[in-house]
């Protein structure tokens, strides 16, 4: 196992150091095994195919190839965006416990988490790029004509800042400038949490959508982010070590244990949140009751009970307990199940908020009380492509940064 040497000198990185690092990364990348390049090629290919679907969708017009329509304008692409940025924010939150707030036991997972928080955020941006109708106008008018009452504006701006801070933090970690990295990490954490709670508020401040309206959304999003962060850390750290055929060293084992325990706690919190969301929902306005009924007992019942509750919350929770936070194989399986469950949580979150017809109380024949949405191949391919991008970047990261090993100082 190789360890990076810590330069003692502070200050800006010198030109020689910069080129040295780049050359090192390049040589690492070029010295991979056959398996590495095959996996890379495969995932890269999937990204390309997904991009083709995306470009085709832009050319033909989204209304013709996506399942969304006037009454349900947000579909699984929005869910996908939420899924990836939730994971990104979560990775930032959990890793900041270690290297921003100085909890030493979580330091070993920090570098990989910061790297992946950037990767998953970019994946989220890629997905949203193919949902927004005029993506190239975003940068211009978000800057020239900002609306401070718009949660979307705040989220976009803050995630932009967050991306910058997290990238800087990772680069600083690479060249072992730990004190500067801590500052960048703190700024990243603040902007990330602010951005993410605004994403929750995008839904929570819409009084016309009973299923979403209320203070619950921003709060739930942050708790969910933390849980997703733990999921991602266990998932990717385990994979990272397995594909490099490396044994876990003691500090890493302890770090994963700590993350596992934190995750179990957060799962309990989420189960508590979901329970009360459902119970209070039944006492809510009719629009909310209709949505919750459809969610629990209607077309989305399988999504809810099997994917969200069982795969996303209950099974990982019990697997974690069974593993006593020591059996990393079981914890990995828990994280795999949880990822699938969490994706369905995002889908249900976005779709069910829109399925109750605007005019359900008026007994109209023009719309059914409960609307339907079905994702199309284009939308599904874009999600798969974003996942493939994460795998692709993850593989490169593992190789080039030699397993993201960290000195504990």
């Amino acid at each position: 196992m190789e360890k990076k040497n810590n330069p003692v000198a502070e200050g800006i990185i010198s030109k020689e150091e910069f080129t040295q690092n780049w050359l090192r990364f390049l040589t690492e990348f070029l010295s991979g095994s056959k398996g590495f390049y095959i996996l890379l090629l495969l995932s890269g290919l999937i990204v390309l195919i997904a991009a083709m679907f995306g470009v085709n969708a832009m050319y033909v017009g989204y209304s013709h190839v996506y399942g969304i329509y006037r009454e349900i304008p947000w579909g699984i692409l929005i869910s996908g965006y939420v899924f990836f940025v939730v994971t990104s924010t979560g990775l930032c939150i959990i890793s900041s416990i270690g290297h921003v707030f100085g909890v030493k036991s979580l330091i070993p997972i920090a570098k990989r988490s910061v790297y992946l928080s950037v990767v998953t955020l970019l994946a989220g941006f890629m997905v949203i790029f193919f949902d927004v109708e005029n993506p190239f106008r975003m940068a211009i008018w978000n800057a020239l004509s900002p609306n401070p009452t718009s949660n979307i504006w705040w989220m976009g701006t803050l995630y932009g800042a967050y991306l910058v801070f997290m990238t800087i933090e990772f680069l600083l970690l690479l060249i072992a400038k730990y004190r500067y990295a801590m500052v960048a990490g703190l700024l990243g954490l603040i902007s990330g949490v602010a951005a993410h709670s605004n994403l929750g508020a995008v839904f929570g401040m819409l009084h016309g959508r009973e299923f979403w309206y209320g203070p619950y959304m921003p709060i739930y999003f942050i708790a969910s982010a933390a849980a997703s962060g733990c999921t991602a850390i266990i998932f990717f750290t385990y994979l990272g070590y397995r594909i490099r055929n490396e044994r876990f060293d003691k500090p890493m084992e302890l770090a994963l244990q700590a993350v596992g325990k934190l995750w179990a706690l957060l799962l309990a919190v989420l189960m508590f949140f979901v329970t009360w969301k459902v119970i209070t929902g039944f006492a809510g306005a009719e629009g909310k009751v209709l949505a919750i009924r459809e969610w629990l007992f209607g077309k989305y019942a399988i999504n809810f009970w099997f994917f969200e509750v069982f795969l996303g919350l209950v099974a990982p929770f019990f697997l974690l307990l069974v593993s006593r936070f020591r059996n990393l194989n079981q914890m990995f399986v828990a994280s795999l199940l949880a990822f699938i469950g969490i994706f369905f949580m995002r889908v249900d979150l976005v779709v069910i908020g829109q399925i109750v017809s605007h005019f359900f109380e008026y007994k109209v024949t023009d719309f059914p009380v409960i609307l339907t949405y079905k994702p199309t191949l284009h939308e599904i391919m874009l999600i798969i492509g974003a996942c493939a991008f994460c795998i692709f970047s993850f593989l490169i990261g593992e190789k080039v940064f030699k397993g993201h090993h960290t000195e504990i100082h």
Binding site: S63, R70, E71, N134, S145, V202, G208, F359, E361
Partner: protein, 250 residues
């Protein structure tokens, strides 16, 4: 609506339980609560309700827009001839896949006598518009002069947040304009060119659509809305959007 106005409106909304004083003021002007069968509930016109028979200057203070464009529907007269829909489509180049105004068909087989009613819908040009609050680039905004919720199409990024925010399904994405489109009370096509009435209101043969200035006591809109003992309602008032489009019978 700017930042300050947004918070001011929030505060008046927060008073969930309508105080007795406000209720009495409502009743003075004659805006009474209707039954559920009529398809609506209590309405809240503007944040502060003018008292009874105020003079026009006082009224103008309460209605900040001049003219305060508004529309009233007399739904018992609607016969779904859809001339309004066609007129709107032609006047405003509304594509086939979208609509700016629509006629909903309400059917209640349990109803006595008449079991069908037609209900026109369009953008309500709300006084507390959720779409304007939510738009990241101010591509949609409430006009300070007329109160019309307008589109600055060139700024629209197509995020569709306004579509999700609107409680009334009033918005759709127009592929030709590459922006969200919706009813603008024919501002661009007619009102800005000196015409006094929207295409749909002009086309209606049955006198369903009354378009006018809510702040002008001589306008038909004002007269209908401010009438003792007349049932007038708005759609989905619980969303707090304070719609500017009213529904009545007779």
């Amino acid at each position: 609506m700017n930042w300050k106005e947004f918070f001011k409106n929030l505060k008046t909304e927060e008073e969930g339980c309508v105080p007795d004083e406000t209720k009495r003021e409502f009743l003075k002007i004659g805006l009474i609560i209707t039954g559920v069968a009529a398809g609506g509930s209590l309405l809240n016109v503007v944040s502060v309700v003018a008292e009874g028979l105020a003079t026009s200057e006082e009224l103008h203070k309460e209605y900040p827009y001049k003219p305060h464009y508004s529309m009233v529907f007399r739904v018992d007269r609607c016969i779904d001839c859809e001339r309004c829909v066609e007129a709107c489509r032609q006047t405003n180049n509304v594509p086939e896949y979208g609509w700016r105004t629509k006629i909903l068909e309400r059917v209640d087989t349990k109803a006595v006598d008449q079991q069908r009613q037609f209900m026109p819908i369009l953008c309500n040009h709300c006084n507390n518009p959720p779409c304007v609050r939510a738009c990241p680039t101010k591509a949609t905004y409430k006009d300070k002069q007329t109160g019309i919720v307008k589109m600055a199409s060139y700024k629209c990024i197509g995020c569709k947040t306004c579509m999700v925010a609107c409680p009334y399904d009033a918005r759709y994405f127009n592929e030709e304009k590459r922006a969200i489109d919706k009813c603008d009370f024919c501002w661009e096509s007619r009102l800005s060119k000196g015409m006094k009435i929207t295409a749909c209101a002009e086309a209606c043969p049955a006198g369903v659509r009354i378009f006018g200035d809510l702040s002008d006591p001589n306008s038909e809109v004002y007269k209908i809305v401010h009438q003792m003992g007349k049932a007038v309602w708005v759609l989905k008032p619980e969303t707090g959007a304070k719609p500017n489009v009213f529904y009545t019978i007779g």
